[in-house]
Symmetry: D2
Subunit: 303 residues, 4 copies
């Protein structure tokens, strides 16, 4: 299939709607992003990349980083990871404490905030310098260096009272082993990584390659782990709209409040769309539209 | 792919474990089912059927019926259906009232009990004789008459206090239009339908055929609706273990406490496994094992 | 203390505000009550009665009946009653199912709807004709016959979906022993009893007389049980405003959506105020004002 | 009434049961307290003190401090305090986050941990040196200097993850104005104050004197505020056992996990019992027994 015309067309159709949705405003660095941007990029399993729109503009990957930290934790910790984190959809807002209380400090899945903080705790235990290890992995996957945005990380830390509450709450149940500040430092930094659509499409290509590194073919995660990551993305990857994504798009996706969404067509390609305006579920409005158009035009849904 | 040897082998391997798990015992008709039974059947998109084990023994389809009532409601009510029922995973037990209270009587999805009762209410509004219409649809799909088990339906009604509570609770929010007893009569009857693995594999084949009737090719539901049914099965079809199923099996599935599970490989085949012993999530223990083996041996996962 | 001038004055001051608040409208018989009514009556421990305003107009006692059914159940069932019902404030709306689910069908206290339904179940078990027994007790306490309002009872039954849900929900936990319809028939009837302020002040005088019958001195409940009833009224008697009542009025109170509120000054007097307009917590707006004025002018608060 | 013989007798009867219950063990300083201690002291409105048992041994007042911080905040902040804190019983464990999430960061009452932290935040805003102000007030009330136990305060801070979570959670709703660490420093310190039964009986005597200082007669809080404090103690003062206390004891009480309980007989006396062993609700086992005996023998219940 020839993808370039398809994504060009999607970008063209959506040009008229640039600026729709509401840009995340809880920290200044996100609030000042130009809302009229839209980018799309895809990377096939054999490494070909197509892109359209603002596909080379770096943006704050935010919760998309949970995908990379989880992959790293699966690699370092293996199945023991699941003693601290569940694998079920949550049915509650991404930052809710209610379910965490019912379930005694074990987050429902690794993509809600509590779950990602629990993953960060596992990484702090497993890696001497977890921040550097994570950054190195992401950089290796996309083939070029990536960096934390220290302004964003500092803003997240300064305003992240809910996340501080979540971490301390899990700690009160004995489900966080490390110093809460160290764990949150990793978490706030991973959210601050800046990447472009092209970089993210490349960096997630291992998910459409049975876990094989997109550039050197090494094992990022096992085939079984890659399938599991895709399964988790489909059931839990898009806040409290996973059912809606499965319903309308039918692909494993992971979104972030920076307006990015990555999607995977297993055994075929990885895809990243970006537009800063969000809908009321916190997912990129145009990004979701773009993915829906992509699924409809290519027939590439898992269902 | 040659499926008969694969399912023969699965049946042979699992023979040693027949009887594992706990048979549902909340009504006598289920409690007295011989636990040492196991059946598996599949139906390809072009109509070929393979079967092994007790694949012709009828059993109580229970919650698998939610798939048929939902398909019927999508056909009769269209998108208006979603004004009364959500499409998100619930993160709570299948019969919980908590989330229903938070969400003012709108069930999270059509596969939790509250959602299926809301679907039944829509069918009562849409069809002059909803019980007969549903039975006729299922019979047509599997190519032979199916029937309610009146003993089971009566037992469900006599012990279904939680479901009566759910229905009245939704009614108190104005989200059920019809007489609660009439709605529940349909619901308890649909759960009582008795079918075999072979019949269920045939009856769900429209889900791997873009909605086309397995025998006459007519439109059961539209292609778009068929995809949506598969998406709902994957995210919400197996009680509070949807994440676990996606993780381990990677196929849209719908289970019932009678011990049956149907699974769909989109564009390829539908599948039904049955063994009465359940695990603690209420899903067939051997059924889940069988599906996991099937996915592993065929590589047929959507991820 | 001379009470007649005090209550005359309260009635006079509140005359200007008659009609304030919103009359309960969920059933026609309540909705058509003239909102501009206000009555107040008190009965001292030695049997003197003072009254002002519409103190002889009968109104629907609604949840005030929970006081009588509880007293009757304490007498018939004794401490075994508390195996089925808690004694703690609920912190949730009076008809919430959430807490009932957490606490496995055991209502938090006898004054939330679920608790009163559980009390009704105990009475159905203990009395051959619980409806008649309850009516006889209330009639005896106030010294004249009282009756169910069958129109109100029928309306409650026809619209009481939430209460039907609560009863079936408790039944699903095995916490209701009798047929749900029979239990609810008692509950809906007890709520329908029509009484005046004077009748209610008399009928609750046993609570300021250590449990002794106001007319014949016989033991209605023991002294210990009378104290407990007062304690329960103070902590749980006024829906989700028990703290507010304790704070502003400082007396054990039990309110109903008919607009009545009974209050007890232990060892001194019982009191009933009535005005149909409710505040947003479901308590009589002028009734609460009247009690606040009464407590302020007499200094009769338990605190 | 002659109280000395009554409390002597209570101490004598309970001597046989010293050591019952479980001593709080979440911090070392509490865990090493000798469980076989029991003290009781009372202070009448006119200043006479009786005591028995270990009534002069200082212990960690813990949550009893919430009474003093609330009184101080009522004095400094007035009714504006109630914009940040409710006055209703919670129906949930003292450190639950669930209800706090439902109610958007406004704690149900000032005696659950979240509420006391919100009170601490108000004090930090109102007083240049809130720690010193609080300590001075308590010292003045009991007539001798009291001090923080810095070991206890440090332990509370080092293990108080749940409280850190609560404070950050409220901050995330914009309901805490000050730096979370400063607020918690005050909270952890107030819990650490060490006082004896005699000191606490004296220090709470203003509650049985319409708010007048027990020694100099000055206004600690207004009469109205004193009544409200008593009302709050009765409805919310003893964790999730307020109903049980009202039922069995019938007096406004405030307990702490150090094993102390203060009780007030309005217009008569204040009372403090102490024994380190707790029941499963976190209240002193012998303390509760002692209060029950006191209420029974003196007839001094508010009901």
């Amino acid at each position: 299939m020839e993808f370039q015309p398809i994504i060009d067309d999607i970008a063209a159709v959506l040009a008229a709607e640039r600026g729709a949705g509401r840009v995340a405003s809880y920290i200044p660095a996100l609030a000042r992003v130009d809302p009229a941007q839209f980018g799309i990029a895809l990377c096939t399993g054999d490494g070909r990349v197509c892109a359209a729109g603002d596909a080379d503009v770096p943006f704050s990957i935010q919760s998309i980083s949970k995908l990379f930290s989880l992959a790293l934790a699966m690699r370092h910790v293996g199945d023991a990871l699941w003693q601290r984190i569940g694998r079920e959809p949550s049915g509650n807002p991404f930052n809710s404490l209610v379910q965490l209380e019912w379930e005694q400090g074990v987050p429902r899945n690794p993509f809600i905030n509590a779950g990602a903080i629990a993953v960060a705790d596992r990484l702090v235990s497993a890696c001497p310098d977890a921040r550097a290890t994570l950054l190195a992995m992401v950089g290796s996957l996309c083939g070029e260096a990536v960096a934390f945005d220290e302004e964003v990380a500092a803003s997240e830390a300064a305003t992240g009272f809910r996340n501080i509450a979540l971490a301390n709450f899990m700690r009160s149940f004995g489900k966080i082993d490390n110093d809460v500040d160290t764990v949150l430092d990793l978490y706030f930094h991973q959210c601050s990584v800046a990447m472009s659509c092209v970089q993210l499409a490349r960096a997630t290509a291992f998910l459409c390659r049975d876990g094989a590194h997109p550039l050197d073919g090494s094992t990022v995660v096992t085939e079984r782990q890659a399938r599991r990551l895709n399964a988790l993305m489909l059931t839990c990857g898009t806040y409290d709209a996973a059912g809606e994504f499965a319903f309308r798009i039918g692909l494993p996706c992971k979104s972030g409040v920076g307006g990015g969404i990555v999607a995977v067509v297993p055994d075929r390609l990885s895809l990243c769309v970006w537009s800063p305006g969000l809908d009321q579920t916190g997912n990129s409005l145009l990004g979701m539209r773009a993915l829906e158009m992509f699924a409809a035009r290519t027939g590439l849904s898992v269902f």
